[in-house]
C-alpha cells in the first residue's frame, strides 16, 4: 500500500501478573496500520485481542504491563512518536485527540447521571476546546452522520436511549476530536441484527467522510469480511497471520485461520461442511512450544514443536506456519467444494 502509515507496531509484548505467575498475553506482535485502513483482529476469547488494543493506548488494567516494543504513531503534521514513551499530559492528549476507543458494552461506558451533551462538552473541554457553540455544532453534525435524531439525543440521558443508540453515541463521541485512529472492541456484539446493520453502515459512513483508520476487534468473522481492508488472526498472544481481507478469507495460509473460517456458517451457502476446532486455547502461563496452535492443529507434525517460519505470500500477506503450503492447498479444496454446491 502506498498510503502513509499512521501506526506502526513493532514487537509489542504485554504481560499480566497473576496469582500463578507472569503471563504473556501479547507475545511480541508487529503490524502496520495505514491512513484510512480498517484492520480487524480476529481470534477466540482470551487470545489477546483486547489486551493488544488496550496496550496501544496505555490503558492496561492493573497488573498489566507493556514489556517491550514500539508503537510508532505519525500525526497529521508528519511527526512520528513512540506512543509507549508518552507520559502524563502528552499521553492524555494522545488518547482521544489522536487515538480514541469505543469500548465493548455500550451500556457501561456512558455515565448514567449526566446528559449526552455534557459528556460531549466535557470531553472537548478536557482537551482544551472551550467553544461550546462550536463543539455543539460538531456533535450535532456527527449525530446526523450516525443516524441519530441530533436534538433529541444531545439532550438525553443514557437510559432514555436504546442499546443501538447508545453505541452510536459512543461512536460519535469517539470521533468528536477528529482522531486519526479509532479502536473498537466488539462494536456490534450483543446488538440485534438490524441494529448491528445500522452500526456497520454508520462506521462505513464515518470512515468514508472522516478518513479515519480503524482497528476493530471481533469474534464475528462476517463483520470482518464486510468491514475490514485487512485482517489479523491472533492465537494465544501471537498474530499468526495477517493479510488483505480477500487473501485471508479466500487464501488463508495458517491452519488456525482456516479452522476459524471453517467453523462459521454462511447464510447463502446451502450445505456446508463445517467443523469446529478441536480442543481449547492453551493455558497462557505455560503455552506449548513452537507453534502454539499445534496441539489442536490437524496439519501438525513433529516439526511444529519448533518455532514456525514467517512466510510471505501475496502482497502484505504473512503467516507463521510450518505447513502453510498444505493449508493453502486445503483451503482451495474447500472453496471448490462449496462453489460446486
Amino acid at each position: 500500500m502506498e498510503q502513509q502509515i499512521v501506526l506502526s507496531v513493532r514487537d509489542l509484548a504485554v504481560s499480566y501478573v497473576t496469582a500463578r505467575g507472569g503471563m504473556r498475553a501479547v507475545n511480541g506482535v508487529s503490524f502496520d496500520l495505514h491512513r484510512g485502513e480498517t484492520l480487524a483482529l480476529i481470534g477466540e476469547s482470551g487470545c489477546g485481542k483486547s489486551t493488544l488494543t488496550l496496550g496501544l493506548i496505555g490503558l492496561l488494567p492493573r497488573g498489566g504491563r507493556v514489556e517491550s516494543g514500539h508503537v510508532m504513531y505519525t500525526d497529521r503534521a508528519g511527526t512520528t512518536t513512540d506512543a509507549l514513551t508518552l507520559k502524563g499530559e502528552a499521553l492524555r492528549r494522545f488518547r482521544w485527540a489522536e487515538c480514541s476507543m469505543v469500548f465493548q458494552a455500550a451500556l457501561n461506558s456512558l455515565n448514567p447521571v449526566i446528559r449526552v451533551r455534557d459528556m460531549m462538552l466535557d470531553t472537548a473541554r478536557a482537551h482544551g476546546e472551550t467553544n461550546t457553540a462550536q463543539v455543539t455544532k460538531r456533535a450535532l453534525e456527527l449525530f446526523r452522520m450516525v443516524r441519530l435524531d441530533p436534538e433529541r439525543v444531545f439532550n438525553a440521558y443514557p437510559h432514555q436511549l436504546s442499546g443501538g443508540m447508545r453505541q452510536r453515541v459512543l461512536i460519535a463521541l469517539s470521533v468528536l476530536l477528529n482522531p486519526q485512529v479509532v479502536l473498537l472492541d466488539e462494536p456490534t456484539t450483543a446488538l440485534d441484527i438490524l441494529t448491528q446493520r445500522t452500526i456497520i453502515d454508520v462506521l462505513k459512513t464515518l470512515r468514508a467522510e472522516l478518513g479515519i483508520s480503524m482497528i476493530f476487534i471481533s469474534h464475528d468473522l462476517s463483520i470482518a469480511a464486510e468491514m475490514a481492508d485487512s485482517v489479523a488472526t491472533m492465537y494465544a498472544g501471537d498474530i499468526v497471520e495477517i493479510g488483505r481481507t480477500d487473501d485471508m478469507f479466500y487464501r488463508p495460509a495458517h491452519a488456525y485461520t482456516l479452522g476459524l473460517l471453517n467453523a462459521v456458517p454462511r447464510l447463502s451457502i446451502e450445505r456446508e461442511h463445517l467443523d469446529s476446532i478441536p480442543g481449547s486455547p492453551p493455558d497462557m502461563i505455560s503455552p506449548p512450544t513452537g507453534c502454539r496452535f499445534h496441539p489442536r492443529c490437524a496439519f501438525a507434525t513433529a516439526i511444529c514443536a519448533t518455532p514456525p517460519p514467517v512466510m510471505t505470500f501475496e502482497i502484505d500477506h504473512i503467516a507463521a506456519c510450518h505447513h502453510a503450503h498444505q493449508v493453502i492447498h486445503a483451503a482451495q479444496g474447500l472453496r471448490n467444494a462449496h462453489s460446486v454446491d
Partner: protein, 338 residues
Amino acid sequence: MPTPLIELRGVHRTFKKDNQRIRVLQDIDLSVYADEILCLVGESGCGKTTTGKIIAGLLDPSSGAVLYENTPITALRRDEQAAYRRAVQIVHQDPFASLNPSHTVGQILSFPLVRHRMYKTRAEIRRRVWELLTLVDLTPPGDVVNKFPHQLSGGQRQRVSIARALTVNPRLIVADEAVSMVDVSIRISLLKTLQRLRETLGLTIVFITHDLALAKYFAWEGRIAVMYLGRVIEIGRTESIIHHPAHPYTRALIAAIPEADPSRTRSKERMMLRSEDIPTLTAIPPGCAFHPRCPYFVPTVCDRHVPVLSSVPEYEQHAACIPLAQGDRLIPYTADSR
C-alpha cells in the same frame, strides 16, 4: 398431517412490570411435530424464549392452551403430567449460570435419575451417568465426572447441560440459544452433537436463536418460525425461508446479515427500513407491529388490521402480511403514495 407432539393454541402471555401489563406473546399458534427441528428466530424481545419456556412447561400461558399429544396439559392426569414433564427438557443459554457451582458433574447428572427413581442401585446410576457423558462426547467420562462446573470450559459445561436434559429420556429438547455463549470456533461441534443425538435418540428439537445463519445450518431439514414483537410473522421450511423470504421483516433480516465471505457480503442487496427505532413491548404499534419500519407499508391497511399467518401466493411458507396475503406485489412506500 401427523398429530403434533406439542401444540400452542391461541397462546397469549403478559408480564406485569411497574403496574404495567406487558404483552410478550400474542395469539401464538404453533405446532411442534415429532422428530422435527423447529427454529424460533428473532431479535431480543420478540418472545422466542418465552415461547420456549411455555413449550417446556416452565411458564403458563396467560390465555390459550398448550397441548401435549392432543391433550391440554391442564387436563393431564397426574401420571401423564409427570410424563409430559419428563418428555420436554430445556437447555438454557448460559452454562455458567445453569449449573450449580457446588455440585460435581456426577452429582448434577445423578440427581434427576434419583428424583425420578429411574434406577435402583448406585452402580446403575453411576453406569448411566457415564453413558450420558459418553453420549455428549465428554470422554473419557472419568476425566469430568468428579469435576465442578468452574473447572470446565464453556463448551464442556454446555455439554453437561445437554447430558442433564437427557437424564430423563426426553422426547423434545428446547435449546435456548444453547451455543451463543460459547466461542465461534466450537459452536459447530456442539451442534453436531445435538444433531447426532437427535438422530440416534429420535429427539425433537426446538432451537431458539437470534442467528439466522446458525438456524440455517442446524435446521436445514427442519422449519423456521420468525418472531417479531410477540407474534410469529412467518413460518415454513428452512430452505424456503432462507431462499425466498416472504414477510418484509424476514427479508430485512436476511438482507442485513453480514456473511463471512467478503465478496458475497459486500455485494448483498440491502434493504432500507423506514425507521431505525425499535418499538417497545409497552407500546406495540397497532395493526402490523412492523408497519412503522416496513418499507412496503400500505397506509390504512397495515396500520389498522392485525395480519394473521396465512398462505402467500407463490410462496410455500405462511406469513402474516396483509398485502402479501392479498396477492399484491410489495411496492416501496413513499410519502406521496397517500
